[in-house]
Amino acid sequence: MTDSLVSIARALVFIVVALVLCAVIFSIAGFSAELMFSAILDGAFLRNGALNHALRWGLPLFITAVGVAISFRAGYFNIGAQGQFYVGAICAAFVAEWTSGAPAFVVIPLCFLAGMIGGALWALWPGLLRLRSGADEVITTLMGNFLAGLLLVYVTSGPLKDQSGSGQQASSRPLDAAYRISNSLGVSPTIIAIAVIVGLSMWLLVNRTSFGMMSGLAGRNPTMVTWQGAKLWKVGLASFIISGALAGLAGTIELMGPNGRLASGFLPAHGFTAILIALVANLSILGSAVAALFFGGLASAALYLPVIAGLPSSAIDIINAAIALFITARSQLIDRIMRFRSRANG
């Protein structure tokens, strides 16, 4: 209990420190820090409909982040959420194309199934390589992201190419409105329901099943779990598959909800923001929900930064990166501070 309180406090401190750091940098660069903060607050949380925007970005991020958390907990650093997100969306788009004309209640579930299977497969091969031959999953999943990005370019400029497009950005033919699960604003009861189902079921999996406990133990000390007779590959493979499937699910939601089509290179930072969310939440499912809303809010604030503070909207990426820096430096930093304090006390 205290452990989770500490990690919440820690995450908040890092976010605040990162924001302050960014404010300093931006004001040195000649922007107004005050306006930056008010743009973020306003755009992310206060403005009318801000919650809608935060949910639009936050819900898919949450789903992907939960997957990331599940593989990280088991000790596997699957950083390929972006690729799994793309492949999931691509598979769903193909199924939508092939089943076009069938009733929505057939097409939509099939698309979701395809999206999850696609994402899972894109996580499966790095998982197998890792578990069978020890290939570092950080490298393979990262490479998988580039492969998936190129696959997306091919698909949107080849098999699924929208011939009527302007040519600015290759994209697929738009989905029939009957198959969309939300309008372009991106929030609908369906999407909220999916996120809630994912959140609940994954919370149960992590906190109320033998698998969840074992993967947590295995992530911290695989040797000990081996001596208890666990088959690490089972836990490992399941973690890869689940994390891939969830990223694929998020990709499908983006395709069938707000985007309505595939565009080459769409949402390029989705996977990495999801990793950031999982880390900020200290790999907890509940924490991921809160963090996803926060980062969803930041993403929607990107629209307001140019208007209110005159900052480019990519300033949000800088803020995200600053938070990421602090979070990854976290353990080192905390260790140092603790050591310093115990020395000061002694």
């Binding site: 033998s210 000390n221 000990m224 115990s342």
Partner: protein
């Protein structure tokens, strides 16, 4: 002691605190030069901290350290070295991939350019002068532990050491190796070096030291007094303290080594010779797995209610034996039966369901996940015997864990605290409470008392004895011969992955020792 020369070491009111923990409290002690001084105490008594203070590795919070009458600046390894103080660590600090010569060079002064030949010539002479039979060109990792320790000592003597501190030097040695080490130490003494030995076996103290000092709870409770003036019982009382629960006679004898070398052990339970064995290994050979020699043709049977001890110098296949029994290393030929059931190809999960329990060698790596909570660590065995998809109720597991830990007398604050926050003895008790449940049939206890203090050690022995009375079979792997001879109904000795001898009580330590070192002895 004559006071013509100043004492080689003079500590005055030394206090060391780590956060809220007081490791050493107002320790004032002085050691005369040219003698062998033993410092004894339980785990956590402050022995290693004391050694480190003298060697300048730890800066005491209060007090002063004088070496040969000169004040030593606090917490400076280099100043301590210059004054002639050298520490040989408990766990060896030599880099395994270095050659002996390289380790000596960098352990000492170092810095200049050199060629390998120059280095080896230079240090070979040093090793030869100390009568250490090691080639300077060998890699540290290829040396047996005894030789590694000799090299550590040689490294410490590179500079003109006046005071040599050895922290638990006998922990890794066979009886014969210990004897050789003692000879070396006596030799150094005659060469004028003062030696401080950190020890925890009373028998060894009485065998080698001129004076003994006892630390308990960070305080100096006795000493230095001449060893001729104390006996084993008095020392063990000083070490344990008055409040500890009394040990039973056998345990005390084993801890103090006061029994004769001929142990008269009587099997406790009615281990019925006719009963089918709980463990039946027949001619098991294993694949090499990089963790010691492979098993060669090992046959071993354990009957219900029997404790079989595995003695041997470390690194002679004991780890492979445990791994083979735990299905963590591949068995190439031979069969293993557990409680009458063939398990040769069965994975560990199945063997555990059949009643196998393992207290592994490395408590903090193989036994516990230090960054996970106590209840998660405790529940792992139970949960893994079921399906990964089964539901759990954390609150129920937590309360089960709590009552189990209470039964096993574990000192802890809450079951959600991290396993890493427990002391060694308490951590071991958590493992015992997990591995010695009602359904256990065969318990493998690998070095279950290593690093534990006398009280915790007696607790572990007691637990093993209780399991024996419940008719479990127990396989005890230990490098402590006293422990093995005290509690085992039968002892096998492992040498290079094979069983080199089987012994029944009364045990003859000389013959066991001979089998351990491969000296042919009418077997």
């Amino acid at each position: 002691m004559s006071e013509t020369t100043p004492p080689v070491l003079d500590c005055h009111d030394v206090t060391v605190r780590f956060g809220d923990v007081v490791a050493l409290s107002d320790v004032s002690i002085s050691f005369a030069s040219g003698a062998i001084h033993a410092v004894v105490g339980q785990n956590g008594a402050g022995k290693t901290t004391f050694a480190r203070v003298i060697a300048g590795l730890i800066d005491p919070n209060e007090g002063s350290v004088r070496i040969s009458g000169r004040d030593m600046p606090k917490g400076s390894v280099n100043d301590a070295r210059r004054a002639g103080v050298e520490l040989v660590h408990q766990s060896f600090a030599l880099p395994p991939s270095f050659t002996v010569a390289e380790a000596m060079q960098f352990g000492g002064a170092g810095g200049k350019l050199y060629t390998r030949n120059q280095l080896e010539r230079r240090w070979q002479a040093h090793l030869d002068a100390l009568n250490i039979n090691v080639k300077a060109g060998q890699r540290i990792r290829d040396l047996p532990v005894e030789s590694q320790q000799s090299v550590e000592i040689a490294r410490a003597l590179v500079t003109d050491a006046k005071l040599l501190i050895l922290d638990e030097p006998t922990a890794v040695l066979s009886p014969e190796g210990t004897e050789k080490l003692f000879e070396r130490i006596r030799h150094l003494k005659s060469a004028g070096v003062t030696i401080i030995l950190i020890l925890h076996k009373i028998r060894e103290v009485l065998a080698i030291a001129d004076t003994v000092s006892v630390l308990r709870g960070g305080k100096l409770v006795e000493g230095p007094v001449a060893c001729s003036g104390v006996d084993a019982d008095k020392l063990s009382e000083l070490i344990i303290g008055p409040s500890a629960r009394p040990l039973d006679e056998d345990d005390r004898a084993a801890l103090t080594g006061s029994a004769s070398s001929l142990h008269t052990h009587v099997g406790v339970s009615g281990n019925d010779v006719g009963a089918p064995p709980i463990l039946d290994m027949k001619s098991v050979s294993s694949a090499p797995d990089g963790d010691g020699p492979p098993l060669g043709d090992v046959s071993l049977a354990i009957r219900p209610g029997e404790i079989v001890g595995v003695a041997g110098v470390e690194g002679n296949g004991q780890r492979t034996l445990v791994r083979a029994l735990s299905a963590l290393t591949e068995v190439q030929s031979g069969t293993i039966a557990l409680d009458g059931k063939q398990v040769t190809t069965m994975p560990l999960q199945g063997r555990r369901i059949a009643g196998l329990r393992v207290i592994p060698f490395e408590r903090n790596v193989e036994g516990l996940s230090l960054t996970s909570s106590l209840w998660e660590n405790w529940s792992a065995r139970k949960l893994l015997q079921g399906s990964l998809l089964s539901w759990i109720r954390p609150s129920a597991l937590r309360s089960e864990c709590k009552s189990a830990l209470d039964t096993w007398d574990v000192r802890y604050a809450t079951v959600v605290q991290r396993a890493g926050s427990l002391s060694g003895g308490n951590a071991q008790k958590v493992i015992l409470s997990r591995e010695m449940d009602e359904d256990a049939r065969l318990i493998i206890a690998a070095q279950p008392t290593r690093g534990l203090d006398i009280g915790a050690t007696a607790f572990v022995w007691d637990a093993l004895d209780k399991a024996r009375r419940r008719n479990c079979g127990i396989l005890l792997i230990s490098s402590d011969l006293d422990e093995i001879m005290d509690i085992c109904d039968r002892v096998v000795v492992m040498l290079s992955g094979r069983i080199a001898g089987t012994f029944e009580p009364p045990y003859d330590i000389a013959r066991i020792g001979a089998a351990m070192t491969g000296v042919a002895h009418d077997r």
